[in-house]
């Protein structure tokens, strides 16, 4: 089944098919029995799902949510109540993570310059570089978000995570740097 036919069948189900396309699909269905059977099955399913009932939340649910929220907030220490050492570790680690990203940015910039110098491979290199930078920035954001949550829930564990983070990030950057240099070497040969 082609993508066009598939789209037409789906648009018909959703009521988005204009008259001209509806005529075209009708013609196709008349000429192709297999397609007609498939459309008939899809229509039957569609009718059944369209009439499917909504399920209502149990009456106690809202109260349970609010009680659970109150409990979470009670158990959750404010950032100001986090031990001094943990707060210092947080600040230090954020600085170290930012510093760790500097060599990566340097490598990325170098790769970008090389990509621009090369004629036929420039697009691929640029795409790789941009994708890599986006990936690492996203990873940094995700890790910091997770640590923020951990700081609230288990400040003691957060200290360990924070201490390990810069090393982990630096290792990733080094691996990428080595891989890039290796690729550059292979490219020259």
């Amino acid at each position: 089944m082609s993508d066009t036919v598939r789209n037409m069948m789906q648009e018909k189900l959703d009521g988005n098919l204009d008259n001209q396309m509806a005529d075209a699909l009708f013609e196709m269905l008349q000429q192709d029995e297999t397609l007609a059977i498939e459309q008939e099955r899809l229509e039957r399913l569609h009718d059944m799902l369209t009439r499917a009932p909504q399920v209502r939340a149990p009456s106690h649910l809202a109260a349970t949510i609010m009680a659970r929220l109150a409990q979470v907030l009670e158990d959750q220490p404010e950032l100001s109540q986090v031990p001094e050492a943990a707060r210092e570790a947080l600040m230090l680690s954020i600085s170290l993570i930012s510093l760790s990203f500097m060599p990566m940015m340097g490598v990325a910039g170098q790769a970008l310059m090389q990509a621009l110098e090369k004629g036929e491979t420039s697009t691929r290199d640029m795409q790789q570089t941009i994708a890599l930078m986006a990936l690492l920035v996203q990873a940094q954001i995700t890790l910091l978000d997770e640590i923020e949550i951990q700081m609230r829930d288990k400040p003691e564990d957060a200290i360990i995570s924070l201490a390990l983070l810069p090393t982990a990030i630096e290792t990733v950057v080094k691996v990428i740097e080595e891989a890039h240099l290796e690729n550059s070497g292979n490219g020259k040969e």
Binding site: R6, N7, M9, Q10, L13, A22, D23, F26, L29, A36, E38, Q39, E40, R41, L42, E43, R44, L45, H46, D47, M48, L49, T50, A52, P53, Q54, V55, R56, A57, P58, L61, A62, T64, I65, M66, R68, L69, A70, V72, L73, I149
Partner: protein, 204 residues
């Protein structure tokens, strides 16, 4: 873009500042929508309750990240659907194999939880039947179907909720519909069989 409900916006801004009463209003307003999504995704009431609680807690803790230019319901449902998808992936091995046939109509009738008037029984039976079919879909497919049919979301809205593209949703939804239609044919007939759809025979 539609204007956000001023009352809702007020609750959101207050909840951001830690006002639990304002957040309670949000919970009351959206609990049915979130619970229905979790139930349709997870197929089990107690787990759906737990997932709903978790989704609201996450929403509260991350309320500052909510962009007030976007529909709040879409943001909230995206938290719930992502959470349900994670749960389903963790327990994937316990689900029925796709190759196993659906239980028969009589078995479904016996599994109805709320015996009562005939109409209510039939209603429950159909709900359970649909749920059994949904349970056999992959989590991403299931979410697309639930958002399309129970929330009347467009492809764009589903894509936004699930963090993917419109074309990916179109493709996912069509595959899901095909799989469900096959199950409908191969498995038990629904409790109230539909006649051949007359819309197919008419040219409109």
């Amino acid at each position: 873009m539609s204007e956000p409900d001023p009352k809702l916006l007020e609750w959101i801004l207050a909840a951001r500042e830690g006002d639990q009463d304002a957040f309670a209003e949000i919970v009351y307003s959206f609990q049915d929508a979130v619970y229905n999504l979790c139930y349709r995704m997870l197929g089990e009431r107690s787990e759906a309750e737990d997932a709903t609680q978790e989704a609201f807690l996450r929403a509260y803790l991350h309320m500052k990240r909510y962009d007030t230019d976007r529909p709040f319901k879409t943001w909230l449902l995206s938290i719930a659907s992502n959470h349900c998808i994670d749960r389903l992936r963790k327990r994937r091995m316990t689900w029925l194999s796709l190759d196993e046939p659906l239980p028969s109509g009589s078995a479904l009738a016996l599994s109805s939880e709320e015996p009562g008037p005939e109409e209510a029984a039939l209603h429950n039976e159909r709900r359970e039947y649909i749920q059994l079919m949904l349970n056999e879909l992959d989590p991403d497919y299931r979410a697309a179907v639930v958002l399309r049919y129970w929330y009347d979301y467009s492809y764009v809205e589903i894509a936004e909720t699930m963090g993917t593209t419109e074309s990916a949703i179109k493709s996912r939804l069509f595959r899901a519909r095909q799989k469900l239609a096959e199950k409908l044919e191969d498995g038990a007939r629904p409790p109230e069989p539909d006649p051949v759809n007359p819309r197919l025979l008419s040219n409109d």
